[in-house]
C-alpha cells in the first residue's frame, strides 16, 4: 500500500514536471517573438555577430524608420480586418440563429451547405475569383479582401456560433415570444448578448486570420496603398533584404496589435471555445 509520504512525493514530482513542461512551452512560444523584437533594437552587424545578446544600445531608430515604411499597410490591414470582422461575425450570428432557432424547411440540408463551405479550398477557388472580382471592378480594392475574407470565414464562424446557440435553452426564446418580441428582437436582445463569449472568440479568431492572411492579399491587391501588412512586409524584405534590423522592427510592429488583442481577450476567447462544445 502506498504511504502518505510517498503519495505526496509523487504528487510533488508530477506538479514539478507539469510546471517544467508549461514553462518550456512558454519559452518556445515567446522566445522567437522576443528575439525578433530585440533584433529591432540592434544594429545589422550585431544581429550577425551576437545573435543571442541583448542590444548594445536601446535605440528606436529602426522602429521609427520601419513605422514610416509600414504605416500605409497598417491602415489597410486595420480597415480590412475591422470591416471583415464585423461582416463575418454579424452574418454568421444571423445564420446560426436561423439554423438553430427558426422553423426553416430542409434545415439539415441548408446547414450542410453552409458548413460545407469550410471544405472549400481557397487555392482551388483563386482563378474564378480573380475573374469574378475583375468583372465586378473590385480587383485591387479593399473590398476585394473584405468580401473574400467574409465569404471564406462565414462557414467556420457559423459553425462555432451555431454550436453555442444549440446549447442555449429554448425556453428563453419562448419566454421572449410570449413577451411580444419579434424574431429580430429575440436575436438582438436575448440570444446575441448570451452569445458574447463565443462572439468574442470568433472576433479574435477572425482578427488573427485577416491580419495574417497572405494568399488572397498577394493575389488580389497590387497597389501598395491597398496592400496589407503580410504583403507589405514581403515587399519590404525584398527591397531591404540586407537591413535585417529594420525588417525585424517592421515585423514586431505588425505583430504587436494582434498580440495585444489576444492578451486582452484571451479570457473570453478560451471561455467561448470551451462553453459551446457541450455540458
Amino acid at each position: 500500500m502506498m504511504t502518505v509520504s510517498s503519495r505526496s512525493f509523487w504528487g510533488g514530482m508530477s506538479q514539478a514536471f507539469l510546471w517544467a513542461l508549461l514553462l518550456s512551452v512558454g519559452v518556445i512560444v515567446v522566445y522567437p517573438l522576443l528575439w525578433m523584437a530585440l533584433g529591432g533594437f540592434k544594429s545589422n552587424s550585431q544581429i550577425f555577430e551576437q545573435p543571442f545578446a541583448l542590444p548594445l544600445q536601446w535605440s528606436f531608430a529602426n522602429y521609427l524608420s520601419a513605422w514610416r515604411g509600414v504605416q500605409g499597410y497598417m491602415v489597410s490591414s486595420l480597415l480590412i480586418t475591422a470591416v471583415s470582422t464585423v461582416t463575418t461575425v454579424f452574418i454568421s450570428a444571423w445564420a446560426a440563429f436561423g439554423l438553430t432557432r427558426t422553423p426553416m424547411p430542409a434545415k439539415p440540408l441548408v446547414t450542410a451547405i453552409v458548413l460545407g463551405g469550410m471544405m472549400l479550398s481557397p487555392t482551388v477557388a483563386l482563378v474564378p475569383l480573380v475573374r469574378m472580382l475583375q468583372s465586378l471592378g473590385l480587383y485591387d480594392t479593399h473590398w476585394a479582401l473584405i468580401i473574400l475574407y467574409t465569404a471564406f470565414r462565414v462557414p467556420f464562424t457559423t459553425f462555432l456560433i451555431r454550436a453555442y446557440m444549440l446549447d442555449l435553452p429554448r425556453d428563453l426564446d419562448e419566454a421572449a415570444m410570449m413577451d411580444g418580441a419579434s424574431p429580430g428582437q429575440i436575436f438582438r436582445r436575448i440570444i446575441l448578448p448570451l452569445c458574447r463569449p463565443i462572439i468574442m472568440s470568433c472576433i479574435v479568431l477572425h482578427i488573427l486570420f485577416a491580419w495574417n492572411e497572405y494568399l488572397f492579399a498577394m493575389i488580389f491587391t497590387n497597389n501598395p496603398s491597398v496592400q496589407t501588412l503580410p504583403v507589405g512586409l514581403t515587399s519590404m524584405m525584398s527591397k531591404q533584404g540586407t537591413d535585417f534590423a529594420q525588417v525585424f522592427a517592421a515585423m514586431t510592429i505588425s505583430a504587436l496589435p494582434i498580440v495585444i488583442i489576444f492578451f486582452l481577450t484571451q479570457r473570453y476567447f478560451i471561455r467561448g471555445l470551451t462553453e459551446g462544445i457541450g455540458k
Binding site: D171, E174, A175, A176, M177, D179, A181, I190, L194
Partner: protein
C-alpha cells in the same frame, strides 16, 4: 375576464397524434389544473393554449375570439415556465420590464407596474440583482412577476414548482394560492404531475392520459367519484387498492366474489344483465381501518412504513396480485408478519366494470362516459 373554449383540439407531430380531440370549457377566474402521467399531453395542451405549439385541428376561443392563428404575445396570455426562463443577462427589473418595453410602454408606467408586482411578490430588494444571484424560490417569484406585470387575461403555469426542493415547493405553492386569492378575476391554468399541488390549488382538475381527458371535476369530486379506474388510482396517495372479482349478485346492492378469496357487499346498484361479469372493486388505503368485530378481510403485514402520524401498511394474502396498502394511525403497534383484520365503510367502496369505467350508486347499467373520446 377570460373564458376559454377548446373544441376538438388535436395536435400531430408528423404521423403521431399526441392530443386526440380535447373539449374543455374554462370559466373566467377559474383555477384549472391539468394533471396526468409523463407524456399524457398536458404540457402540449398548455403550449397550444399559449400559442407556442400550433393546433393541428380544432378551435381554441378566448373570450369568443378564435385564437388558433393569433401570435402568442397577442393572446393576452402570460406563461411561467418550468425552468423559469429568466433572461440571465438582465437584472430582475429588466426581466420584468422586457415585455412592457417591447410593448412600448412609457418608462414611468413600466416602473410603477414593476414596483407593484415586486411588492406583491416581496421582490423589491432584489430588483437590481441578476438571476444568478437569486435562490430558486426567488427566481420563480421573478418568473411569476414577469407574468403579472403584463396584466394578462390568462396565466399559464408549466410545472412551476418542479425545480424547487420539498420545503420551498410547499412555501411557493402557498404563495401561488395567495396570488390567486389576490387576483380573483384572473384565469389560471396550471400543469403538474404532483397531485398534491393539483388537489390544493385547483377549482377544477383535468386528468389527462395519452392525449385524452379522462375526467374533469373538483378535487373532491375526483377523489370521491372517479370516473374510471385510471382516475381512481391516479388521484390519491398511496393509490387506491384495486381487487379484481366477479359480480356474483346484482340488484340495489351488489356482491362481488373477489379473486383474493373473500367477498364484499357494495351498496351500488347493478343490472341483472351484469351478473357474472368481471368487475374491479376499489377501496382507498386511508378508508381501511382495523376491526376485529366485522372484518372485511384478513391479511398478513409484509412491510410497515412509519411516517409518524400514520403508517403505511403493506398487506399480503393468497390470491392477491399486488400487496394491499392500508394507511393506519401511527401510534398502533404493527409488525411485519402479524395478521390483522381490516374493514371500511361501505359508502367509501368503489366499483368499476370490466372496462374500468365506474359504476356509481343509482346509475345501474350506466357506464360513465369518458369525455373527449
Amino acid at each position: 375576464m377570460a373564458e376559454l373554449k377548446l373544441r376538438n383540439i388535436r395536435k400531430n407531430y408528423g404521423a403521431m397524434e399526441v392530443l386526440h380531440g380535447i373539449d374543455l370549457d374554462i370559466r373566467s377566474g377559474e383555477f384549472v389544473v391539468f394533471v396526468g402521467p409523463s407524456g399524457c399531453g398536458k404540457s402540449t395542451l398548455l403550449r397550444a393554449i399559449a400559442g407556442l405549439e400550433d393546433i393541428s385541428f380544432g378551435e381554441f376561443h378566448l373570450d369568443g375570439v378564435l385564437m388558433n392563428d393569433i401570435a402568442p404575445s397577442q393572446r393576452g396570455i402570460a406563461m411561467v415556465f418550468q425552468s423559469y426562463a429568466l433572461y440571465p443577462h438582465m437584472t430582475v427589473f429588466d426581466n420584468m420590464a422586457f415585455g412592457l418595453k417591447i410593448a412600448g410602454l412609457r418608462k414611468d408606467r413600466i416602473a410603477a407596474r414593476i414596483r407593484q408586482a415586486a411588492d406583491i411578490l416581496q421582490l423589491t430588494p432584489y430588483l437590481d440583482r441578476y438571476p444568478r444571484a437569486l435562490s430558486g424560490g426567488q427566481r420563480q417569484r421573478v418568473a411569476i412577476g414577469r407574468a403579472i406585470v403584463r396584466d394578462p387575461k390568462v396565466f399559464l403555469f408549466d410545472e412551476p414548482l418542479s425545480n424547487l426542493d420539498a420545503a420551498l415547493r410547499v412555501a411557493t405553492r402557498i404563495e401561488i394560492a395567495k396570488l390567486k386569492q389576490a387576483m380573483p378575476e384572473a384565469t389560471m391554468i396550471y400543469v403538474t404531475h404532483d397531485q398534491v399541488e393539483a388537489m390544493t390549488l385547483a377549482d377544477r382538475i383535468v386528468v389527462l392520459r395519452d392525449g385524452r381527458i379522462e375526467q374533469i371535476g373538483s378535487p373532491v369530486e375526483l377523489y370521491r367519484r372517479p370516473a374510471n379506474l385510471f382516475v381512481g388510482q391516479f388521484i390519491g396517495s398511496p393509490s387506491m387498492n384495486v381487487l379484481a372479482g366477479t359480480l356474483a349478485r346484482t340488484g340495489q346492492s351488489s356482491r362481488i366474489d373477489l379473486d383474493a378469496g373473500f367477498e364484499v357487499m357494495v351498496p351500488i346498484a347493478t343490472d341483472a344483465a351484469m351478473q357474472g361479469q368481471r368487475v374491479h372493486f376499489g377501496v382507498r388505503p386511508e378508508d381501511l381501518r382495523l376491526s376485529e368485530t366485522a372484518p372485511l378481510f384478513r391479511a398478513t403485514i409484509s412491510l410497515v412504513e412509519q411516517l409518524g402520524e400514520v403508517q403505511l401498511t403493506y398487506l399480503e394474502r393468497p390470491g392477491l396480485a399486488a400487496p394491499l396498502i392500508a394507511k393506519l394511525p401511527g401510534h398502533l403497534d404493527l409488525h411485519q408478519g402479524t395478521e390483522i383484520a381490516l374493514t371500511a365503510d361501505a359508502a367509501n367502496f368503489h366499483l368499476f366494470d370490466q372496462h374500468g369505467n365506474a359504476i356509481r350508486p343509482h346509475e345501474a347499467g350506466h357506464k360513465i362516459a369518458v369525455p373527449a373520446e
